[in-house]
């Protein structure tokens, strides 16, 4: 009799469980970080270093507070390189005109992007989670189910791209390919603050598994 009761209980639990299904959704959010400052890199031959004084005086007279900052990277004989940054677009335009007038060689014009802060990713993660919940609700509704709970959340979306669907990640060949892809992706621009583009675009993905119950 006791065994029979246990059996009934187990069957009830299993049948209740059968009413529930799980749904795993990849939530996505995107973000854009905008440049804060414009900058230029100028170079002078050793015999025209008097131009640095001229440029320095001219830019301070029009209101550019930032000084010419000497650059040591990629040193070459007989040349000196300097960096000047300015956040006012009007003043930056005038700076370029001054360089043109003084016949100063502008090696590079760049945008200075803000330093990427990991704390800002919290908001993007929440937005990705909300996106997953919206998708889950739509799917559940179509299946005549209701989202009742979040079972798990997974921030590791390395293999979320459909590209990995055709790779056997467990195999030796698959591991090699994954390693190669990681190496190719090594040129991550997330931490670079100097850019030729005025924006840094990024995305945040998150896997969310929901518990659905039959309506």
């Amino acid at each position: 009799m006791k065994t029979f009761a246990i059996l009934i209980l187990l069957l009830t639990v299993t049948s209740t469980n059968a009413q529930n299904i799980t749904l795993r959704v990849l939530g996505k959010s995107t973000y854009v970080e905008y440049a804060e400052t414009n900058g230029i890199i100028v170079s002078f031959n050793k015999n025209e270093l008097d131009k640095t004084v001229k440029l320095s005086d001219t830019i301070s007279s029009i209101g550019i507070i930032n000084k010419l900052a000497s650059i040591n990277e990629s040193i070459t004989n007989g040349k000196k390189r300097f960096r000047i940054e300015e956040n006012s677009l009007d003043l930056f335009d005038r700076l370029l005109m001054i360089c043109n007038d003084l016949k100063i060689k502008v090696d590079k014009v760049y945008y200075k992007l803000p330093v990427h802060r990991f704390e800002d990713e919290d908001g993007n993660a929440i937005l990705a989670l909300n996106n997953a919940t919206s998708q889950a609700k739509i799917i559940a509704n179509n299946l005549k189910y209701k989202v009742v709970d979040i079972l798990n959340i997974d921030d590791d979306t390395t293999y979320a791209d459909p590209f990995y669907d055709n790779i056997d990640i467990e195999s030796e060949r698959g591991q090699l390919l994954v390693k190669l892809l990681q190496l190719l992706g090594g040129g991550n621009s997330l931490h670079k603050v100097e850019s030729s583009k005025p924006i840094r675009e990024g995305g945040y993905d998150i896997w969310v598994t929901y518990k659905l119950r039959k309506l």
């Binding site: 065994t3 040591n72 990277e73 040193i75 919290d122 909300n130 959340i153 921030d155 590791d156 598994t209």
Partner: protein, 206 residues
């Protein structure tokens, strides 16, 4: 009869446990940390070559390889670089260049970079500069790993607050990216960003 009931029970328990695996309660978060590191030395690659008189430049003269080499050694010694510090560099050279040319490199303090760039000698040309990160801070890996764990915890809490859940105990920690080694690193940049990535699985509590 009794045996068949036992088998049935075992089957049911087994199927329930399989189901439990797909419905595990967890929140797995990637924690990140980074730190800017400055190079402590540099490697300057240069070439020394003989020079032939330039027909378009009245001031130009023939300079022998030996004369150019000696002048470079003399200028280097003025800034504290000895001849022994100069090493041969196996760099590709243009096959069409008929001049006698040799490639070298020196490892030097960062303070010397500007002084070297100021050297103007016929036949001396700086071809490349690399920055060396030889001082490995033994505490850096610990510092970054702790920061990354803190980052994961903070993010997990921020996510859980929005869905009325709580972050439970740590179930698993996996280091995804560290890149620390005892080897001396060389880079084109005088500053690099050292990153650390860790995946932490927490229990998800209602």
């Amino acid at each position: 009869m009794k045996k068949s009931i036992q088998v049935l029970i075992l089957t049911l328990i087994f199927s329930t446990s399989i189901n439990a695996q797909s419905t595990e309660r967890f929140i797995r978060i990637i924690g990140n940390a980074k730190k800017e590191i400055k190079a402590d030395r540099s490697k300057v690659y240069f070439s020394i070559s003989e020079m032939k008189v330039n027909n378009y430049d009245k001031n130009s003269n023939d300079v022998t390889y030996k004369a150019a080499y000696n002048e470079v050694i003399s200028k280097f010694s003025e800034i504290g670089i000895k001849e022994n510090d100069i090493k041969n560099s196996l760099k590709n050279r243009n096959n069409y260049n008929r001049l006698k040319l040799k490639n070298f490199y020196i490892e030097t303090d960062l303070n010397n970079l500007e002084k070297i760039s100021n050297i103007v000698i016929n036949g001396f040309r700086i071809t490349d500069t690399k920055y060396i990160y030889s001082k490995t801070d033994s505490n850096l890996e610990t510092e970054l790993s702790l920061k990354a764990i803190k980052d994961a915890k903070r993010k997990a809490k921020a996510i859980c607050v929005g869905i009325n859940k709580k972050v439970g105990k740590i179930l698993n920690v996996e280091v995804k990216e560290a890149g620390f080694s005892s080897r001396t690193k060389e880079n084109k940049e005088s500053n690099i960003i050292q990153t650390y990535k860790v995946t932490i699985t927490f229990k998800l509590i209602d």
